[in-house]
Amino acid sequence: MKLMAYARVSKVANRHSQHEITVVKRCILDKRKVPDGLTDGKRSNGKRGCASVRSESEDRDADAIVTHHETPNSRPRRVDFVVEFPLSQNPSEVVSKSWMQQTPCMINLLPSIHLLTESNRLVPSEAPVRLPTTVLPLTDKTPSFIIDKKNKSFRHQYANIYFVRLRALRGFVEKEARKRWKDVKDTTEFPKLVPRVLDVVKGELCFVVGTIYMDMPLKPNVLEDVARDHSIPAPPPRTKIWSEDDNVMVEDESGRILLVGEPLKKVQLVTGIIVGVLGMENSSGEFSVVDLCFAGFAPQEESDDGERMDVDVAESQQEYLATISGLDIGPSSAADAQIQMMVEYLTGEGGGPDNQVAASQISRLIIAGNSLAPIAGTDIDDDVRRRRRDNTSFSPHPTLNLSAHLLDLAHSMPIHILPGASDPSGTILPQQPFPRAMLGTASTYSSFNCETNPAYIRLAPGVSDKTAADEAEASTSKGASSKSLTRTVLAVSGQTLDDMFKYVPSPPATRIGLAEATLRWRHMAPTAPDTLWCHPFFTTDPFILVQTPDIYIIGNQPKFATRLVTDGTRRCRIVLVPSFAETGILVLVGLRTLDVKVIRFAVKGMGIPENSPA
């Protein structure tokens, strides 16, 4: 039996105009009335008319079978010729040989016709193999966020965090400040560092280093909460706590001083960042700011500096890191089909051979939070429950649903899953990893990792050392370069950025800008003890960025955005990953070149809010 392919040749049948014919992917025939006297159909296979294509197509000897359909109401009148031909033949040849000779036409063969017929048919003799990457152990500079027994106590005051933070970053800020302001000539020579905020002398240019405190009237306030009339439901939390009346202060162990001045309006500040402020105290006791400075980028792991040239060479064969967030699997998730498509894409089953090769380059997947939808109110729950009874096809348990998807993926690739705001995990940062058992069989894979919410993942393209050594013999250059290349990934489920974003007026400020700023501040969650809940760490502040990550992934953002931040030799790829349930977006980051690709999964015309481009 011959495998047949189909093409549709549309012809604008404006009799006197020139014929333009395009061969579209494959014919889609509605049962429209076929006019009699089809000369074209006759020509190709010697039969007249094409009332029944089935019967004609049994005539296997024909080079191509052309049938003729007319769309009655289209204007200009449009006639479709369906060309059916054996797969062994090149479609364009067939068409021109059997039919086109008589009618001078132009044929556009879309590349898709090949994909449908020729290449899809090929079952790759060798299944593509996923490019390996290895997880390296964490270092001191990229600490684990697991709260161990030692730190488990909740007894400590949050003040410690500020103290530790100031102590840790003060040195860097001072150094940066001296560098930045060494040319400032005012009354005397170099502006003086005043070690304690309260020791600032009126009218004398100096700089102080301290922690920013934003005094904001709209900030949630415990006292207001207590005084509130509880018979009235609480107002929903604000999306912005920024207002015109905000006061910016800088504080250290000694006290606070109010900052005023134009420069404050040019930068976005949030509570908790360590800054150096240049200026002088004015007559009313405020500190009028001339300039501000931050700690600046933290150093980066050295190992890959020398490798950059090699790295670019390897672009075509580089490993990708897929990230995704906000699967929002709930009792009734709208994105079921998209999730399934995503799984199929990543496992290399969906799509054409090109897709499959691309999928094999994706080395691992990071799920940055909100895998499960927030639990809805009881009213909705009842409703859903009722509906569920009708619809037996879906498991009523989102967790099972999630773990089933994870298992599908885990068969095929390593996964790192982070808890997020809507997940069943603690609210305070750092969120601790999901219990593995919760996610079912996927957890039997050692390559399936439950991570903390902010999480550092250190990756090295290539296989682990032992096998790498073997491979190195085979291909020395490649093995060598891949061994020394390490990438530090910092993944966050988005709460840090969401919280900071409340502090700043958003027309000038953007999320990507803030994300970049956190790198300059050397702190990923400055608002942490203030408006962002976090664990009362006593001796450390793990959110300080001791080292600039290579890839900084922030999940659950409203929109996709990315930026490659460079500072000297340091570079960091920031990626804001949007919610998958809303956008269907999967982001790929190249581990060698740090380039970014976006893959969007959508359905069209199926009763679901469309994500389609058109």
């Binding site: 498509m341 390559s447 990507i512 015309g605 679901i608």
Partner: protein, 487 residues
Amino acid sequence: MASENKILDYLTKKLVVEQTLVTFRSLSRDLEIHVNKAKNELAKYHAEHQFSEVAHATYWISGETNMKADNGMDIDEDEEGEEVTETTVMLVEESDLEEAKEGFLSINAIHVYSLSPAPLRESALVCEPTIHLRKVEAEKGQQLAKLVGRISGSHVKRRSGLGKTKTLGPAVASTSKAKAPRLAKAATVKEVKDEKKDISKSEAKPDSKEDKPKAKATGKINFEKAKPKESKVEEKKPKAVPKLAVAESSSKAHKVGDKKEEPKRGVKRKNTVRVSDSESEDNASPPSPAPQVKVGPPKRKPTAQKAAVQPKRSVIVSDDEVSDVPVRPRVKGKAKAVVVDSESDTELKAMMDLDDDQVIKVSRSASEARKRKSDEDVEMEDVQETEPEPVIKSKAKKATKKKVIPVVTEDYSSYESADEEEPEPEPVKGKGKRKSTAAEKKADNGEAKTTSKPPSDAAEPKPKQKKAAKSTGQMDLKSWFAKPAKK
């Protein structure tokens, strides 16, 4: 070609007879062909049947779109700066195909995603076959994945620490199956039943239909290709041991062992004196720690030992027997159930889970009853009785435990990991105490109590209990010796 016919048959059956949706994945999984081939087959089928309205296609298109144009419009145009190549993967119903294609700048893949008896209007429907697929996948394991074309890599690994033998077999077995036990754990036994019904309802309906054709189909393919042995095995005894294919050899051995053992136990029950039998029944549920060590010989020994012991225990017998009454019907029920469900191994498995719970429950209830008695009795009797008792007890327990375990352990592993393994000495202790005292107990009035009590306690049993009992091998001995000292 035969396989072509089979594909045709399969599709016709699905679409025309069952009126269900077929995705390229379900086709490839069920017939064990590569996904790319499956896509083509779907396209072919669709093309051949386009006038009969049998099948409506849904397409997968992927390519570059002109998203950037409408994307960058916002305020943060400059902020977002970098433009990124965006690939869109879209699922499109046949009638929208042309329109959808216009939205693409370039298309790099397009293929039939699924065929359905009616035009697809609700995208979530394409997920429907996956539930079944996962089961198939779990049964056939990695082999299928390779056949079907799933990408994997050297860095995708199973956890090595997880005990290849037990944990893996059932764990692999299937997600859907795993669901049941997991739920069961959380819920009470009754709920477990309900749950099972639900699940089986939802899955069994479509699946039971699908199972048969599939099994047949795979069999054919395999014979033709003379492919993996496992599938042949499946063919021969599909209901009993399909799991084997997945399970590793050691676990296989276990499994077989289990199966053999069960009937034996039944036989023994009839042969041996009732006393010992009931005794074994009680202890049966607690799994022993080391099933592999000596499954064969010890099994027989215990009965002999018991027989020897009997003179002493004869008095006790009545007591135990009575308390065991509820056990027997249960056991029978189990056997029946298994027979009934043997059509699909899933259900059988589920059943076994269920039964274990029940069995435990029973033993628990019995012991509970005894405990109550013992509370009354301990004071008066403990002095004389303690000395001989420990010996008997330990022997009996050891022996019986060994017999039954494998079933239980197997189930456990399917859904649990390390944390539950902590020994919980208390129930054991209690048991030891109960039993000894109960055994010595001669009062007739106790019997009435025991019989009446079990049902009320029956609701309580938890899977945990099993574990506790399991880990107790030596523990209860110790506790036993410790007790007299206290007193």
